[in-house]
């Protein structure tokens, strides 16, 4: 009986140790420092590009970048499992409180800017909308494209999941028109897709669809059907670009953030400083984001 218990224990130990060995990315022997970077799917490509360049220049540092959404990254920072959290929205007061309760003081860095582009199928003739019209579409007040000057087709609303910073930003800035007391929500039949890729794909295939995503994620074949957005019916309709974000004429743009746990030191601090340098900001523009000045 006892021997069998021992055997079982030994088997379990072997199994768990195997699991550990293969599950955790082990840093190469040459690297002396290891940075875990996680969060916003909007930022993930940019963060990857930064990490690749930085690792090429500093072979002693190893950086792992994963996506999952801003909420996921911030939750990981609160739970103490990442060094740097990427976020496409600022942390909420609630989240900062939770982090402090866990003994972590988040420090915020604005690392890049981004425009959120509203995009439709290339076959849809609608090319310009006001913020109010977009809000009415997503809150379910307008259900047919003919209501905004298009063809007689039902509107299919696409959105990122609720763990996406882009989702939260879009809710506050576009659907609620920046009014914090406005209780408007997404219409319940808004489809919440788990990835940018899912939204782009459905917009590409479905002539009824409207979607939104970070400017850096709009592929070339959909660049022609990005909606020009106006603050109100009289105002100019502006297409998102680096120039229109920088002169603040495009109404749906935002800062992108990185958060560290506490005042960072050593490798993490050097990495953040490098990200804010002109060299790293050059990569930002290459990927369709807007560099910070």
């Amino acid at each position: 009986m006892k021997l069998s218990h021992l055997l079982l224990l030994a088997t379990l130990m072997v199994v768990t140790s195997c699991g550990r060995g293969s599950g955790q990315p082990t840093s190469p022997a040459s690297a002396s420092a290891y940075i875990q970077n996680k969060g916003s799917d909007t930022l993930v490509n940019l963060a990857l590009a930064w990490a690749e360049r930085y690792q090429a220049e500093h072979p002693e540092v190893s950086i792992s970048v994963t996506g999952g959404g801003s909420g996921t990254g911030i939750a990981a920072l609160i739970n103490g499992t990442v060094d740097i959290a990427n976020a496409s929205r600022a942390m909420t007061a609630d989240e900062i409180k939770q982090a402090k309760a866990n003994g972590i003081t988040p420090v915020e860095f604005v690392v890049s800017r981004d425009a959120i582009a509203v995009v439709v199928n290339p076959g849809n003739p609608v090319r310009r909308l006001t913020l109010q019209q977009i809000s009415d579409i997503y809150s379910g007040k307008i259900n047919n494209w003919s209501g905004v000057g298009g063809e007689n087709r039902p509107i299919v609303r696409l959105s990122r999941e609720t763990n996406s910073g882009t989702h939260v930003y879009f809710l506050q800035t576009v659907i609620r028109l920046g009014d914090k007391k406005n209780p408007t929500l997404f219409s319940t039949d808004t489809m919440l897709l788990a990835s940018s890729e899912g939204i782009i794909n459905e917009v590409r295939l479905n002539p009824n669809a409207i979607g939104y995503d970070g400017l850096g994620y709009i592929p070339k074949d959909l660049a022609g059907s990005v909606i020009a957005v106006a603050r109100d019916a009289s105002g100019p309709y502006v297409i998102p670009s680096i120039a229109t974000v920088n002169d603040n004429s495009y109404p749906v743009s935002r800062d992108l953030y990185m958060y560290t746990a506490g005042t960072s030191a050593g490798v993490i601090k050097e990495y953040i400083n490098w990200i804010l340098s002109p060299e790293a900001q050059g990569i930002v523009a290459d990927l369709g984001f807007v560099p910070i000045k």
């Binding site: 009986m1 021997l3 069998s4 218990h5 055997l7 079982l8 999952g68 959404g69 909420g71 996921t72 939750a75 609160i78 739970n79 989240e95 939770q98 087709r153 039902p154 509107i155 299919v156 999941e161 609720t162 763990n163 939260v168 929500l185 997404f186 319940t188 039949d189 808004t190 489809m191 919440l192 897709l193 788990a194 899912g198 794909n201 459905e202 295939l205 479905n206 009824n208 669809a209």
Partner: protein, 298 residues
């Protein structure tokens, strides 16, 4: 000699016993874990709010009815696909197909069962849902129907494989007896072979349902994930959000111990109870039908 044999015997039977008990133990532990993490939700959110029809957790709308109905409609749709096709294929393989064809087809069907659901999800996004949108003239192809068809397809291999084994284990004498009494081939299959294999076929269906209701990835990719209450028949042509997809999509974002976290575990608990219910009903049906089959065939 005798002593070592005895000792070996004890060790082996102890190992087997441990395996058997551990299965029960794990289920109980998981159940208690779900209770511990999920029940606080009942105190943090009023029951009326939980049974509301709006799911929007980041603004504290925790109505889980749309998610439950979403899961149910997709599962039922999938079973409508899987039951006739699964049993039909199993009957064909076991009773009708010549031996050589069966030896090719059965491994192929089982290979189909090994396809990762993510891959099928891709197929659903790129082929099935555009097809449904154009063919049925729907606003979007990402609907409960797409999920049901895909899940039906996913559960067919499980159903076929087990049902075929059950049909295969019906003694040849039953079929010969029926044929000797003048029954046609169809009468033999429908009145003798299928009833005799009934418990195995039902097990196959239940495992199929289990696979369906627990499936996450493919469903998340093709059902559109819109938390709409799906209680009308037409809901099958609209996007829905299932319980599994909700847990998978949102578990990563929640802070441990928050209300949202507890509600997600409560959804897990509901899912667990539904599966348990399906299994209990299945085993009681199997038990009854076994008695009847034994009466008829003994």
């Amino acid at each position: 000699m005798n002593k070592t044999l005895n000792r070996r015997e004890t060790i082996i039977s102890a190992i087997i016993k441990t395996c058997g008990y551990s299965a029960v133990l794990f289920v109980i532990l998981i159940f208690f874990f779900l209770l511990r993490e999920g029940l606080p939700a009942l105190f943090e959110v009023k029951l009326g709010a939980l049974l509301a029809t709006r799911w929007y957790p980041i603004e504290n709308h925790f109505g889980i009815l749309p998610l439950i109905t979403g899961s149910l409609i997709v599962t039922m749709g999938a079973m409508l696909v899987a039951i006739p096709f699964g049993i039909g294929t199993a009957v064909f393989l076991s009773e009708i197909a010549p031996r050589w064809m069966r030896e090719i087809l059965k491994p192929l069907v089982e290979l189909l069962g090994g396809l990762p659901s993510v891959v099928l999800g891709f197929l659903g996004i790129l082929v099935l849902s555009p097809f449904l949108r154009v063919f049925l003239d729907l606003p979007t192809g990402l609907t409960a129907l797409a999920g049901a068809l895909l899940l039906g397809g996913i559960s067919i291999p499980t159903t076929v494989s087990i049902a075929e084994d059950a049909l295969d284990s019906v003694p040849q004498g039953y079929r010969e007896g029926a044929l000797a009494l003048g029954a046609t081939r169809w009468q033999t299959i429908w009145r003798v072979t299928l009833p005799a294999a009934c418990s195995g076929v039902l097990t196959a269906l239940m495992l199929g349902i289990g696979r369906t209701i627990g499936e996450t990835m493919a469903v998340m990719m093709v059902t559109g994930n819109a938390p709409v209450l799906a209680i009308k028949l037409a809901s099958i042509f609209h996007p829905v959000r299932t319980m599994t997809a909700t847990i998978a999509a949102e578990m990563g974002e929640v802070a441990k111990g928050s209300t949202h976290y507890h509600v997600l575990f409560l959804i897990g608990l509901v899912l667990f109870i539904i599966s348990l219910g399906v299994n209990i009903i299945a085993s009681s049906v199997i038990f009854k039908s076994k008695k009847r089959a034994e009466r008829v065939l003994s």
